[in-house]
Every structure is written in C-alpha cells, then in structure tokens.
C-alpha cells in the first residue's frame, strides 16, 4: 500500500515550485562565489529546500499526469544545467581541498614508505587555553 505523501501548501503549484527551485539554485551559486564555512552551510540549507521542491513536483507529476506541462521543460533543462555547474563546482572544490590537505600533510609530516603524504590524525587530546 502506497504511503500518502503530504505536499506543503507552498509547494502545491508545479510551475511556481519549479521557478522557485531555479531561483534557489541561483542563490546557491551566488553564495558559493563568496565561499566560507557559513556560506556553504547556507547553500546546503537552500539545496535541501530545492530537493524538497523538486521532490514535491515529482510526487505531483506521478499522481496526476495532466500536470506534466511540456512548457516547463525548458525550465527543467535550465535547472539541470545549473545543477551541472554546481556538481562541477563541488567536484573542483573536492580536488582543491584534497590537494591542499595533502600538501599540508607532506609539509607537516613528510612522506610514508609508499611515497604518499603522511597521514595526519586528529587525536582525542586537547590543549587548553587560558
């Protein structure tokens, strides 16, 4: 038996929902142009909202095929493009962090016998200040 899904009121209109998702993706892109821990957190929160928005559209479209308006396809394609940019951005970020952390590891601890940057571990030990 299928579990009924409740769609929040603000996500009930497919077109509005889709445009809102697109606008949210744009906000994410702008946030990531000024990257910081705070902006990444804010971006992730918005992405979670986009996930809900698109998920609601999926539920609505599965429940009622007449709501699958082909006019919305270009908007979907734009969303797909934006998501592609974000995915690429995160992929590049991953490479950046990996390279940077590896550089710190080798500078801090040298290299192991396999020629890899020595691993750094965060031990359960703290220095107290003040």
């Amino acid at each position: 038996m299928a579990i009924p899904v409740e769609i929040p009121n603000q996500y009930g209109d497919v077109a509005e929902c889709m445009h809102a998702a697109r606008a949210n993706l744009d906000r994410v892109r702008r946030l990531l142009m000024r990257p910081s821990a705070e902006s990444v957190d804010a971006a992730a929160a918005i992405l979670r909202e986009v996930e809900v928005q698109l998920g609601c559209i999926s539920v609505l479209w599965k429940a009622d095929q007449s709501k699958r308006d082909p006019k919305l396809k270009p908007v979907l394609e734009e969303i797909r493009k934006d998501v592609g940019v974000l995915a690429e951005c995160f992929s590049q970020a991953e490479r950046l962090f990996e390279g940077w952390i590896r550089a710190i590891q080798s500078k801090r601890g040298g290299y192991d016998k396999q020629g890899q940057a020595a691993a750094l571990i965060l031990v359960n030990q703290v220095n107290l200040e003040g």
């Binding site: 990531l32 990444v40 979670r48 998501v83 974000l86 690429e88 951005c89 992929s91 940077w100 750094l120």
Partner: protein, 470 residues
Amino acid sequence: MGSLFSALNTAAGALSAFNKAIDVTQNNVANANTPGWAAQNPVMESVNIQSADGTVGGVTEETINSRNPLADTAVQQAQSLMGKFQQLQTSLAPVQTAMDVTSSSAIPSALNELFSAFSQWSTQPTNGTYQTGVINAAQDVSEAFQEVSAQLNSAAGTVTQNLQSTVTQINQDAAEIQGFNAQIAAGNSNPGLQAQIESTLENLSSLANIQTLPGAGGTITVLLGGQTPLVIGTTVDALSVGTNVAGATNGPPTSTILDSNGNDVTSQVTSGSLGALLSVGNNLIPSLIGGGSQTGGLNTLAKSLADTVNNLLESGSTTATPPFQAGSALFTYNANPPSGIAATLGVTPNFQGSQLAAVQTGPPQVSNGIALQLANLDTNPAGQINGQSFSGYFASLAANVGNAVSSANTSATAQQQAVSQAQSLQQQLSGVSLDQQAVQLVQIQSAYQAASKVVTVIDQITQSLMDMVQ
C-alpha cells in the same frame, strides 16, 4: 581563534542538519561536539613519518606569518584550470559556429536539398529542370563543405597565433620573475615584492600549469609541468612553439612546445590557456578538418558522399535502351593530401544534366533505379559511414563540438567559483598554524561533501522529472 570556532561549529551544524553520512572521522565529530570546544585547540599528530626535513616524527607548531605558500599554490592551481576552460570557451566558439546544424547554409541543410533534388529527379529522369536542380544542389553541398572547411581553417589559424602569443606572455612573466629573483638575491625582499611575485605567478598559472619551489637564497624556482625549468634563480629558460612535421601524414603539422634546448615538452602542458590551445589546435580541429596524423571527419564525410554518388552514377546509364551510355561522376575533389578533400569538393566542370545516369541497367533494368538509390542514399545502408547516415555522421561531429563547448562552459563557471573559493580560503587561513589550517580545511571539506551529496540527489530527481515530461 574566531574563524576556527566558526568553521567547526558551522560544519558540525551542517552535518547535523542534513543527517547525511559523510566521510569524516569519528574523532572529528566527537571533538567537534565536545563541550567547551571553543576554548580548545586540537592536536594534530603525524604517523609513520620521515619528515621533509629529515627528522622523524615530532609535533612542532608551525605558524605562517606572512604569505601562505600552500594557499598560494591552491590559488595558482585553480587559476590554471580556469585559464584552460576560459580559453576553451574562446577557441571553441568559432568551431561551434562553423559546425552549426541549424543554419540554412549549413551542411545538413545542403545534404537534405541534394537528396530532395535526387528524389524529384527520380520522378522524371529526363526532365531538364530536375536535372539542373540536382547539379545546383550538388554545387550547394560543395560550397557548404568549402565554407565550413574555410571557417575551421581560419579557427585553426587563430589558435596557432594564440599559441605563439601565449608562449610570448609566458616568457615575459618568466622574465619578470627572474627580475624579482634578482632583487631577492640582492637582499631586497619585502612584502610588496612578494605580492608582486604572487600576482605574476597567478597570471602565469592561468597561462600554463606551473609549479613553484623555493630556490637558493629565497628565490623562486618555476617549473612547467613539474619538470621543465622556466625560471631558476636569475636564469630564464624560454619556451618556443614548434611544429611536428613527422606526424603530418594527412594534413598540416601539429604544434609543439619546445624548451630552451629545443626538446619537445608538449606532453607536460596539461592546463592553462596553453593546454586549451594545444587541445583545440592539435586534437579537436584536426579531428574535423585533418592535421597531423588525422584525416578529419569532414574530409571523411565529403569523400564518402562524393565517392558513393559518383560510383552510383557511373554504374548507371544515361540511355534507357542499349547501347547503354555510362554516366559521369558528379563530384570532384583533391585527395592529396586527404585533409584537403572537403576544401576542394566541387561539381565536375561543365557537367551537363544529360550526363546524369538515372537508368539501372540491371538486370532487372529500372529506368529510374539509380536516381531512386541516390534519393534514398541517406537512409540506405550503402550510404553509411561507420553505421551512420551522412546527415547522422555530420550530426555526430557537431555533437562532439557541442559537448566540448558545453563542458567548457560548465567548467569555466564552476572554476570561477573554485578560484574565488581558493582566494577566500587563502585570506582566511593566512597567519594560522598548519594544524589549525588542516582542521579547518577538513571541516569545511566535510560541509562541502554534505552539500555535494544533496546536489547528487537533486540531479537524480531532475533527471527523473525530465524523463516524465519527455
């Protein structure tokens, strides 16, 4: 400490909020949730170590006071990739224009017109108007191939010019760094000079994939691809552009990058503007119009089309009754070198409509058999290249270019953000210890990983929505 606390707390908040399984060590999470964390410093410990300076182990605290060489390197690497993607965007634009499938003067349109003309001619093979229609359509196809070939050759010429100017810029930047090194060697190092060096290195990074190493007396050593010296102390090893004539069996030679001793170091260039120009000039454009060891898809298409049409016409007869009169070849081209086929494709000079052979002599004899085969050529297996129709083959060539452009656009936008990110982190992390830096990076990386997983889910949902609305 403020920035460290902020990074730890916000990253921990992200983990909790998204409840996603992320690959961060239990110790990190445990420490991040430790009460009073804000008043504590984590201790980093290296394991199984032969350290860079020869000592074994040790947990010394190293504070970076002025510039952060690791952060600078990260910025340079990000700049190098951005330079590559931006150059790809620039260099691919004219290629994409040439391979346009929508323009009325484009090859697909001309091919359609030719097959339509064959179809019309097949209804009345002796109709002079229809015969002229075939010749005119063949002329249009030839001109379309010539036009695209000329545009791509022009794009190739621009790439070659840009290669030369980019190498000149690289040598100029190397000379600047040489000058800075001379000042450092003379004991004139200061923060202003260091900033100038970093600025020049960032510019150089956008041109090619370089690596920097500390040299003697505080100078900067710059290597191309981690191997070829560009600057060592006060010595510059200038690059130059060469041509690989040995591989030019089918068309113009490909470009090479030579070090100061004349050695080919092309394979070491993987990024920056120079990497993009080599990729477009040595691979993408030759894959279309030939060059180096490649014949080029456009030439393959032109040759296959001309040969197939000519063979059919020459196998037919211009007369419906014996004695049969063999038809003539409609197309001509110069296959020496093979990369020149598309550029020289044309209609046989002084070709007359009466030379078009519509009759299939058989048996069975069919009065419009050849004309019908020509009309159906684009759907007939006899007219296929590697299992594709002529139109389909061109579409696949255009799609390769389109994919390259799309990929460059996406990557350039994303890389712009990566550069901003690296520069922002460069500022945030200056003046902190390597240990603090590592912790911050791991925590911010975790936040990125959490957000990245949401993007993956969104991508999957978007794909399923696209499938629904097809």
